[in-house]
């Protein structure tokens, strides 16, 4: 039941883009076309889950025992940066087709604050899914990370669909580009507010 609540909460109620404001730059940057939006979401999904796994373990078995939790920010960003590089190298060798699909999106992910945000969130924040406030276990963290990135993909794909239509419509000059996109996201976020309160 806890896992189910985590999934619903992470995808709809606390959507990472529309409610938590993480990963906005790539969200606005690559959502012009549905195909690139899907590629980016897949890459983010992959990296967020992997990064959360590694940073959770590092935090639990390295930083906490030695009393070094103040190094979280520095340690995590370095881990994420090297992880992204490694994933890129491994994919290039083992799965050229997946590498071609994710391609240019992988290096961009290092500076996607969604990755660092989720990694820091799961080790510092207490969640209250289905009961008392507690720090997430490794399994819960991974489910949370994966569901969060699914929420990212959902928002991205919906928005890319809207944007493809928007490109065809006649927009006033001052609204062109980012402003109209922001107003659209605002309305999308209003719709997602309908989910709020579903999971406490």
């Amino acid at each position: 039941m806890t896992y189910f609540l985590i999934i619903i909460s992470a995808i709809f109620v606390n959507n990472i883009v529309l409610a938590q404001f993480l990963g906005i730059c790539p969200f606005l940057g690559v959502s012009n076309k549905l195909s690139t939006a899907t590629g980016m979401s897949m890459a983010v999904c992959f990296v967020i889950t992997l990064a959360t796994l590694v940073t959770w373990l590092i935090n639990r078995y390295l930083l906490v025992p030695f009393g070094l939790t103040f190094l979280q920010t520095i340690a995590f960003i370095l881990v994420i940066a090297s992880l992204v590089q490694m994933v890129e190298i491994v994919l290039k060798k083992t799965s050229p087709s997946l590498y071609a699909a994710l391609g240019i999106f992988l290096p961009l992910i290092t500076t996607n604050c969604a990755v660092l945000g989720v990694a820091i969130d799961v080790v510092t924040k207490q969640f209250t899914f289905g009961g008392a406030a507690h720090f997430l276990s490794l399994g819960e963290s991974l489910v949370y990370a994966f569901a969060t990135s699914l929420g990212y993909g959902l928002a991205m794909v919906i928005f890319a669909g809207i944007r493809e239509q928007l490109a065809l419509s006649d927009v006033p000059k001052a609204f062109k580009g980012v402003p109209i996109a922001l107003v659209t996201v605002g309305i999308l976020a209003l719709a997602f507010m309908g989910f709020s309160g579903m999971v406490k």
């Binding site: 938590q20 906005i24 730059c25 604050c113």
Partner: protein, 195 residues
């Protein structure tokens, strides 16, 4: 001297990080629930930006080209950790409010952007001024956005409830952030941006 002054004023309007360069959107949207919150986030970013610009411009010559991005990130992350400590010690309430977005200053693209585009190619003094200019531009944008959202959302400004009632709650929440920033950008394009 006018040249030095221009470094600062450029960051405010011509290269405004929020409205023109459209960088650092996450903290811009997330922390501007009130004018004070926006101002605090802006100042924290300004602090990191100026110091990292100074250090990076001083050491850029000694860093091998291949590892310059990781090296810059370590410098930036160091100052972010410093800000975390300072805020925890002196403004614990504000640290709680801004929460996750303080450590996330590390991945704010404005800072790495200025390090890469300006500090690595210019002297220490110029880089410091550039950091101040861009940082002030960011701080002003965040304060204005925070003020607009606070007026519409809670009917107050800097905590002073001049309307004597509640506002439209949606403007303090997520949708209001996107809508306000979108419309402010439109006004900026219309009146301040020179083509």
């Amino acid at each position: 001297m006018s040249n030095k002054l221009k470094l600062i004023t450029d960051g405010l309007v011509k290269n405004n990080p929020t409205f023109v360069l459209i960088l650092g959107m996450c903290p811009t949207l997330a922390t501007t629930t009130s004018a004070v919150n926006g101002l605090s986030m802006g100042l924290a970013t300004l602090f990191v930006l100026v110091l990292s610009n100074i250090v990076i411009s001083a050491i850029a010559r000694f860093i091998p080209d291949k590892v310059h991005i990781p090296a810059y990130i370590v410098v930036i992350a160091t100052f972010v950790t410093l800000v975390q400590f300072l805020m925890q010690a002196y403004t614990p309430a504000m640290y709680e409010t801004l929460g996750l977005f303080i450590p996330l200053i590390v991945v704010n693209c404005i800072i790495l952007g200025r390090a890469e585009a300006f500090a690595s190619k210019n002297g220490v003094w110029d880089s410091a001024l550039d950091g101040i200019g861009v940082g002030l531009g960011f701080t002003c944008s965040l304060t204005v956005l925070g003020a607009v959202r606070e007026i519409l959302g809670s009917g107050s400004i800097f905590g002073w409830n001049f309307l004597g009632g509640d506002g439209m709650l949606a403007f303090v929440m997520a949708p209001g952030a996107f809508l306000c920033l979108g419309y402010l950008m439109v006004l900026f394009n219309k009146f301040l941006k020179k083509d």
